[in-house]
Symmetry: C2
């Protein structure tokens, strides 16, 4: 190693190649280089590294991290020895070489999440990933103490995904001390070609904290709530590209990152084609292929477009989930279904019961659902602690999901019914939720022997008789609304 090639231990899981030349599969390998500080290092300088292992080659873009430090990050997806060489328009950053060994993943490292079986997700190692998300848009820009509280809350929660903004979010006029771009906060004038490394160092620390807890950071890249606040929504097309390149180089190496192009994208009033372009830009530059979607206000984006990996919906018609799956042929996540609370705003006062029922409706429609809470300090905005009554019931549902078939729950209309209250795997497993129906009896599918469990999603009880039942048997149910049923064929 040459002396201007500095290697530093940053924070988990970024691995310094100097300290250790072994990197776990899907962890982050980083090259740190010292280069020019003059001019505009964000635009004047480019650096990338070509990583190769046998026939496989990947060109990872680097980024400037302030104080003359340039970094190139890489998430190896194949075990074995990787070699690299850097390329740059600056001699000091050019033609730097090295190697490291990618060793198998251990522990909870299952790799990044991919779409699988058309409507579902798995980790790269094949472990099922069943999104059970929550929302904390501005949690990472809150005071440090509050952020730590949020992390503690998430550790003990059922949630394995959180929707969060990359850019600041302060709908209630909060001030923040650190901005993503260099500029004048008073005058709301920003230089979108100069990032503030401190802001993004902090953000990636939080992404890493989430990774430690097995939680996906569903990163919202743009949002419409900045009008007349700071004006970060006023980037030109070139500035957006620069911003996306920076995020991809810097954050795209974290295996728990998803790209959500926007929250309520339509409220930004950008042309549809601009969103198409941004999607394609990310698809082109993010060779890790992190899941990509976009969240709507009143007008839905067309999620059938090839660059969208899954539908991310704000919608309250959870029973329509099966139809939305069919429309898009992709996984459907109801990423906003109102927030539990009693605020005056209609979106912010959903009853806890309805939050729980919507989770069940979405589930038996073969979809995924995202929680949000608007009580007291409003976790969905600021993080903190949960006060609501739905979280523990969502945890109860998640335990049931973890114990369901690995290939996911698909809407299944066994031949004795014509409309959808059931999801499962044909002839083997069904989870049914009857919603507002007084279902008092249910006929098991024909054939085999079945284990039957009556589930009360609100009371969190699972009543499972010792007896098993022959296929075709009519079993009795409580005959009251909001009950669920699990049928598992055991023979």
């Amino acid at each position: 190693m040459k002396n201007f090639l500095l290697m530093l231990m940053l924070f988990v899981p970024v691995i310094s190649a100097a300290a250790i030349d072994k990197v776990e599969r899907w962890d982050v390998f980083e090259i740190e280089l010292k280069g020019p500080e003059t001019g505009n290092p964000f635009t004047d300088v480019w650096v990338r590294a070509i990583f190769s292992r046998g026939e496989t080659q990947r060109a990872a873009e680097g980024f400037y991290d302030g104080e003359g430090i340039y970094r190139v990050r890489f998430m190896p997806e194949i075990t074995g020895t990787w070699r690299y060489v850097t390329k740059s328009n600056v001699p000091a950053l050019n033609d730097q070489k090295g190697e490291f060994t990618c060793v198998p993943a251990t522990g909870d490292n299952h790799g990044p999440v991919r779409v699988a079986y058309t409507y579902h997700f798995v980790y790269a190692d094949g472990t099922p990933y069943r999104p059970v998300g929550t929302t904390g848009y501005g949690w990472a820009q809150q005071p440090e103490e509050q952020q730590n509280l949020t992390l503690k809350t998430l550790s003990g929660s059922p949630f394995n995904k959180i929707r969060m903004m990359v850019l600041p979010h302060a709908p209630s006029g909060e001030t923040i001390s650190c901005y993503p771009f260099m500029g004048d906060p008073e005058l709301k004038q920003w230089d979108f070609t100069r990032f503030n490394p401190e802001y993004f160092q902090h953000l990636e620390r939080r992404i890493s904290d989430l990774l430690d807890r097995g939680i996906i950071a569903d990163l919202v890249l743009f949002h419409p709530y900045d009008r007349n606040v700071w004006g970060f929504d006023r980037m030109t097309a070139d500035e957006k590209d620069l911003y996306l390149r920076y995020l991809i180089a810097r954050l795209g190496v974290y295996r728990n990152v998803w790209w959500s192009l926007a929250n309520e994208y339509d409220f930004l009033h950008w042309p549809e084609k601009e969103w198409d372009r941004l999607f394609q830009f990310i698809r082109e530059h993010d060779f890790y292929e992190h899941p990509r979607s976009i969240h709507n206000g009143s007008k839905w984006y067309d999620h059938s477009k090839s660059w969208v990996t899954h539908a991310s919906l704000q919608n309250y018609n959870l029973t329509g989930g099966k139809g939305f799956r069919e429309r898009y042929g992709k996984p459907v996540i109801f990423d906003e279904i109102c927030y539990e609370g009693s605020h005056m705003e209609p979106t912010l006062n959903l009853s806890a019961r309805e939050m729980v029922y919507r989770f069940w409706q979405g589930t038996v429609n073969g979809c995924y659902v995202t929680h949000g809470e608007a009580i007291d300090q409003q976790f969905f905005r600021r993080g903190g602690v949960f006060h609501g009554e739905s979280v523990k019931r969502i945890a109860f549902l998640r335990r049931i999901l973890e114990d369901s078939p690995p290939k996911g729950l698909d809407p299944r209309a066994p031949n004795w019914m014509w409309w959808n209250v059931a999801a499962g795997q044909e002839g083997r497993y069904y989870l049914l939720y009857f919603g507002p129906h007084n279902t008092s009896q249910w006929q098991l599918p024909e054939g085999g022997l079945w284990q039957v469990a009556v589930i009360d999603p609100w009371e969190m009880t699972i009543t499972q008789p010792e007896t098993t039942f022959a296929g075709g048997t009519v079993v009795d149910l409580p005959g009251k609304p909001h009950m669920a049923l699990r049928l598992r064929r055991i023979k």
Copy 2:
């Protein structure tokens, strides 16, 4: 009057021109003629009457009613003296002349119902008609005693519309004693060119009974539940036309008749074009322009087609109502939203609470909703009595509707909200239903003075403080789910 021109008093409101030459506007005037009984009078003979009053002329088709009796019926829509002359291919029925006086309507006679204000209905005299329907598909083919019980039940109910089949309906294998066509019930062979007058005489008596009670007969002309029962669904195109002509001539004079082309039309698997054709046939032949629609199973008919007067939906997404109105630009009636009950079939075990909540959801989306009950003998199939818990709550809602603005409730998003829980007339009246939301406060629209009532749709209470509130005031609500609010500007 010639001696072969017999005039008989049939039953209310068919008025015999012999007994009385005065007919109330929108009542039925009938000419009875004696003609041939040989051959096939249904197809060999045609008779019509040209009614004229000043410039206005109407050609009313007659029909054969058995035993050599031919009738031509007419519903006068303009007061004054009408003259008529008959035309026929049979001399005995041809060139018969007469006149009668159409006098103003009295009492509860408001005329037929028409679409008005794009999304609503009014009677011909301008009185608002707000459909609050129920379902009794086969009630008119039940034993006489049961039919009388049904009429008694309806008299004391909130319902002003009932969906009912023209053709027999016996999903549970009931037998009937009287068939609509001549033929062999054992062999299931029918002559679709020969109607059974007795069957239709009975049916029209029931329609008249409903008229006496102010109830619309939403006549379902075809249905898919006859497969392997009698085979009345096997008419050819020509036979369907003959059937429709017969119904229009015979029943189309009743001002409380609506045409519903089918129940779950898609389950008949006729080509879409055939339905288009039938719609156009009715539009062409029914010059009274009774409301026309069609009810779906899984696949919706395109209600935006010009011959459809209103959308008749089987759908359970009542909160989607506003969107359906916008899609079609017509009134939307949720004509099947599941049935209250606890039957094993999922459509037949809706909880009473949900039935009531769906009525409210539909209402605040500017739509109309139809009830159905599947308890015990299953009113929705056989009529009888109501056992459910929803009917009295629907009556409560109807009283609120009758006290609402005459031009109907349209979804209104006052500027303090962006999604629809409110319907009314801008700046004057709002009815809000918060569904599963814990709404604890609500801000009144700006300006004026408002009367505020908190409504509990299940407990059937209206809490209306003596105090009035200035526009813009924030009023307190119970903060629990399933509450409603009425705002009426009084100054």
